[in-house]
Symmetry: C2
């Protein structure tokens, strides 16, 4: 099986109630590829500037992430985001955003990327998502994520992409915005009519709902006593979820439920440290232990 992930690789400056960190590596592609790398060998598609740290590239390679689709723009500057979190980890303010090399990124996929089993169109513009989608032979599974900005500014392009994907990952705010439904359950289910076979609603500290045609799965978030940095939790969730699906190779409801647990496990690790730090120490047995903790948490 193979998983291609398209998204952002970025520098983030992050302020949380715990501390402030300047220009640490982040981005939707980075987080989801790292999370997926504990289950499969993801190939990434992204763009960075010449300022991107060689140590990070080396770390991604060490995690068996394929960087053939990572474009480095000579003299360019990597995408930059600055955000601030208050006491509610589900809420954040964007302080600054510099698209830099990302602003008009269009790419031709390497030949080895053009027949993936799973394609994940992470948080990038819907036009770029379509541009990538047009370059691959129909994968077994296409998943997508988006953000408020594209829902508000490119609703038609977004609707076109939604009709072409199998899984849509949204957080609660995005789902409500896109459907104009206040009730989250109705919002989630109504998104199934827009194209995807599966809608995954991420509620942050309140857990996740997965809506399928014939089942709904709900999972509490791991009870975390100290969120250090919520950044990348949703991307790590998606990466763990899709990485596990790629490893198992089927889409049975039971597999999807377990994928959501592995996704939640990866998200729960991510928030324990700033940026991608936590990925440097996670072990497979820690992941299995957390899976078992989820089982204990919700069983009755």
């Amino acid at each position: 099986m193979s998983l291609v992930i398209v998204g952002s690789v970025a520098f983030d400056t992050i302020e949380t109630p715990v501390a402030r960190k300047e220009r640490i590596v982040g981005g939707s592609c980075t987080y989801s590829a790292l999370a997926a790398s504990f289950f499969t060998r993801p190939k990434i598609v992204a763009v960075v500037g010449e300022d991107f740290p060689k140590e990070t590239a080396a770390f991604l390679k060490k995690r068996h992430i394929d960087l053939k689709g990572l474009t480095i723009i000579p003299g360019g500057k990597t995408f930059f985001w600055e955000g601030r979190y208050g006491d509610d980890p589900n809420q954040r303010d964007t302080v600054r955003l510099d698209m830099n090399v990302f602003s008009d990124f269009r790419t031709e996929l390497p030949a080895s990327y053009r027949a993936p089993d799973i394609l994940f169109l992470a948080n990038i513009g819907p036009d770029l998502q379509e541009h990538i989608l047009a370059q691959v032979k129909r994968p077994r599974l296409v998943a997508m994520d988006t953000i408020r900005f594209y829902i508000e500014n490119q609703p038609e392009a977004l609707d076109r992409v939604l009709r072409k994907v199998d899984i849509y990952f949204a957080n609660d705010e995005e789902a409500r915005l896109l459907t104009n439904e206040k009730n989250l359950i109705r919002a989630g289910r109504s998104l199934l009519d827009r194209g995807p076979r599966l809608v995954v609603l991420k509620k942050g500290e309140h857990g996740v709902f997965v809506f399928g045609a014939d089942f709904t799965f709900g999972l509490m978030a791991h009870p975390c006593e100290g969120v250090v940095d919520p950044t990348g939790a949703g991307d790590s969730f998606a990466g763990g979820f899709l990485g596990y699906l790629d490893k198992i190779g089927n889409l049975r409801a039971s597999t999807i439920r377990r994928a959501a647990v592995y996704g939640s496990a990866m998200a729960s690790f991510t928030i324990e440290d700033f940026g991608i730090e936590r990925f440097k120490s996670i072990t497979p047995s820690e992941i299995e232990a957390r899976f078992a903790q989820f089982k204990k948490l919700v069983s009755f």
Copy 2:
């Protein structure tokens, strides 16, 4: 086994996005006794005025609720609350509150109430909670609930009661306020140090956490597509929870987990209609079916 519930019996005027209802019967004692009545035969302690409808008293009796502890004040007016909900069912504004006969309610328990297995001190002032507690032979289990008003205005009396109870039911706002902890998991666990053996954190549409000395249980709320009236959900949860414990008669972790599921089931019925309406049609097989739905929802 036997369960005594002390709390308010009230008239509520309720406005939700669905409709407005004037002076319908509500109150923490009413909701929790009705929810408990599907598992055991609760005895209630409360006070009403002469304006309290005979049909409601008849309905409570039909549900095998013991009304010997219900004081009717001749010429008195029943406690009245008016509240308004917006789109978020977890948020409400109190528009008006008339304590009426409740304002200086002190009561002597009937002899048949003085040796309960379980005593539930629902949402009433901590002084009254202590006054009741002093009249019973040490029950196997004492549970309590409170509201923001008492946390802010009678913190010392509240702390005394907390030290004497086994189970504390709180919603997320109350838990944060009482502990000064922003993180809900830390808030819940730290409440265990204040006295109770079990802390039950009700998160409304986001489900419930139960914290014990050696386990944590988390349950998603029933995925409800249309909340008609959120009033009484928390009280119905507590009633179903304690009613089930009274029926089963032990406090094993597995029993407590199931009690939380039955509590959530009762809360999920309550919000499907205004006030106590839904209790008029619930059947035992509906409750078992909802229990099974919860199992399906969260299993992996």
